[in-house]
């Protein structure tokens, strides 16, 4: 039997707290899961620094990737299979793309990418297309199969329906992470009736659409997403931890570039500091490696690096205040001067950070608006854009919410010290 059609002698199941069971029958999927690059995702948390706020949020990208695969499998095997609009030949590429869509994520990837100017999507492509175990498994299907999987993830695959199943405003990726993140953080929002949504999903030539009777289930999904972004993903304390993480990496790079002699050679980082790293070195990094360095750097003689690492490891995070860059950017200049005077390097101890989200948007012909909307399929077959039919979704459509904060180490500012009092007054005033 051709490898691409080969089934396991017995179905494998993973016990999963969100989807109950994750079912694997395809040999290819089983072999991909067992590659070193996929197993690496066990060592990368799905929510980065969020575990410092919601202690349950220790779940990994491995779990999420399996979850996205399972949702995709259910969409195809129990929803699309047998329908005229669905091409059964796309099943395996869709399943592999779902499983591998986050393969290139690095440790604390948002912070790491920001500091070293990297793009995890680029690494996903590289892992799929270069000499890796994942590439070797996918190539056994067909020589061009790794490229097909890479194209689906990069949104350049000719079959737009397959692309929309993992990259659209209602896709397998979002449906898994909203439920999984809600489960592990322990919050009560983030839940919606996914079974219902899967039952009302319909394939069309270009994208997946929703049968009109499923509108209320989709409303619930959009509102879950809205709540999760502001209550979990943009939690200011989690952002504070990320701010410190970014500053640790900046400081370590600065010290390396200025010839500082590390007590512990930052072996894993050198190629990144020198911007000459190879894929192998990127894959070698995970969150345990970073956390080990942070532990070691707490004993470095550089006081800034040692302090920042101590803050991250022992959760002595920065305090935050509301900050409006439009009206307060002059005040920021004043604060920079006062921080210098107080012996706090503002480069590391005075940080602004913004969060922004657009919960749902629709496409307006002729003008730049990049989000393909969710369409409801009416009984006569017509498609209607969701916000035109739903008052709930209409109320939040196209409405971006942005939040700016300024982070600083309040524990270093002592009440009664005139300089510190002035700083605190400016920060909180």
């Amino acid at each position: 039997m051709a490898y691409q059609n080969e089934k396991l002698p017995e179905e494998k199941v993973f016990k999963d707290p969100v989807h109950r069971y994750i079912h694997v029958r395809d040999r290819v999927i089983w072999d991909v899961i067992n590659t070193r690059e996929f197993q690496r995702l066990r060592r990368i948390r799905q929510l980065g620094t969020t575990y410092l706020v919601f202690h349950g949020a220790e779940h990994s990208r491995f779990q999420h990737s399996l979850g996205v695969y399972e949702i995709m499998r259910r969409i195809i095997d129990t929803g699309f299979s047998g329908r005229e609009e669905w091409d059964e030949d796309q099943r395996l590429v869709a399943l592999c793309a779902a499983l591998l869509h986050d393969l290139g994520h690095g440790p604390f990837s948002h912070a790491f990418e920001k500091v070293f100017n990297l793009d995890h999507e680029q690494f996903t492509q590289q892992i799929l297309l270069e000499q890796t175990e994942v590439h070797e498994v996918l190539s056994r299907v067909a020589l061009d199969f790794p490229q097909k999987v890479a194209d689906v993830i990069a949104k350049t695959y000719p079959d737009k329906l397959v692309v929309s199943l993992i990259s659209s405003q209602i896709d397998a990726d979002r449906m898994d992470y909203l439920q999984r993140d809600a489960y592990y953080t322990g919050v009560s929002y983030g839940h919606f009736d996914m079974e219902r949504i899967l039952r009302v999903m319909r394939p069309t030539e270009d994208q997946v659409v929703i049968k009109d009777s499923g509108m209320h289930a989709v409303e619930d999904y959009i509102m879950s997403r809205y709540q999760m972004y502001w209550q979990v993903y943009f939690h200011p304390v989690s952002r504070s931890a990320e701010v410190i993480l970014i500053k640790i990496l900046h400081r370590a790079r600065h010290l390396y570039e200025t010839g500082y002699s590390f007590a512990q050679e930052p072996f894993h980082f050198i190629s990144f500091f020198e911007k000459e790293f190879k894929l192998k070195q990127y894959i070698a990094l995970d969150e345990s490696v970073l956390l080990m360095y942070f532990q070691l750097w707490m004993d470095e003689s550089d006081p800034i690096l040692a302090d920042l690492c101590d803050r991250f490891v022992n959760r002595r995070l920065f305090q935050y205040a509301e900050f409006d860059p439009a009206s307060q950017y002059m005040k920021f200049g004043e604060l920079v001067g006062l921080f210098h005077e107080a012996g706090l390097d503002p480069e590391y101890y005075l940080v602004t950070d913004s969060s922004s989200d657009l919960p749902y948007d629709f496409y307006r012909p002729g003008e730049e608006n990049e989000r393909v909307p969710i369409y409801l399929q009416m009984k006569n077959g017509d498609l209607r854009e969701l916000s035109r039919m739903s008052d709930v979704v209409d109320a939040i459509s196209g409405k971006r919410r942005t939040d700016h904060k300024i982070y600083y180490p309040e524990d270093r500012l002592v009440n009664g010290n005139p300089l510190h009092d002035k700083i605190l007054e400016l920060l909180k005033g």
Partner: protein
Amino acid sequence: MLLQEHAKIVQFVSLACEVNGRKKMQKMVYILKKMNFPFVEKYELHMYGPYSEELTLRVEELCEMGFLAERFEDKGSYKQYCYQVTDEGSMFLNTAEEPRTQLSDCIERLNSKSSRFLELVSTLLFFDQLDKEQQIAKVRIVKNKLNFTEQEMDQAFEFIEELQLVSAG
């Protein structure tokens, strides 16, 4: 410096005098980034080609801050947002670093082109790690509904070469 990246966008609009259309703005900044001008906004491939949510956000913030003015124009078959620098924005620009001299020249060339053409150029550049034939094949897949002609493809490649020369100084 605080708002350093915001300042680069204000500087870009200032050098363009006016940018007509969000799509045009997106594509111009992407192409300039590909010409090694120091824009940091992260781009992904979307419906109209390379698109940056970060740039959208930055422009919205700049409008809220009063540094950019957004004007809505109803063109009948489509609607368009146009951007100019305000007086406050010009003052804010004093805090920005001087741009490379070639930036102005590149912006002028880009601003004279249509959004459709810039969409083609930016999408080709998105696939610039591929060889020319593969780049064209990719554009034909992701932009299958736009039916770009051979002539447009040739013009786009010529334009990219021209920009590379200008930006290199």
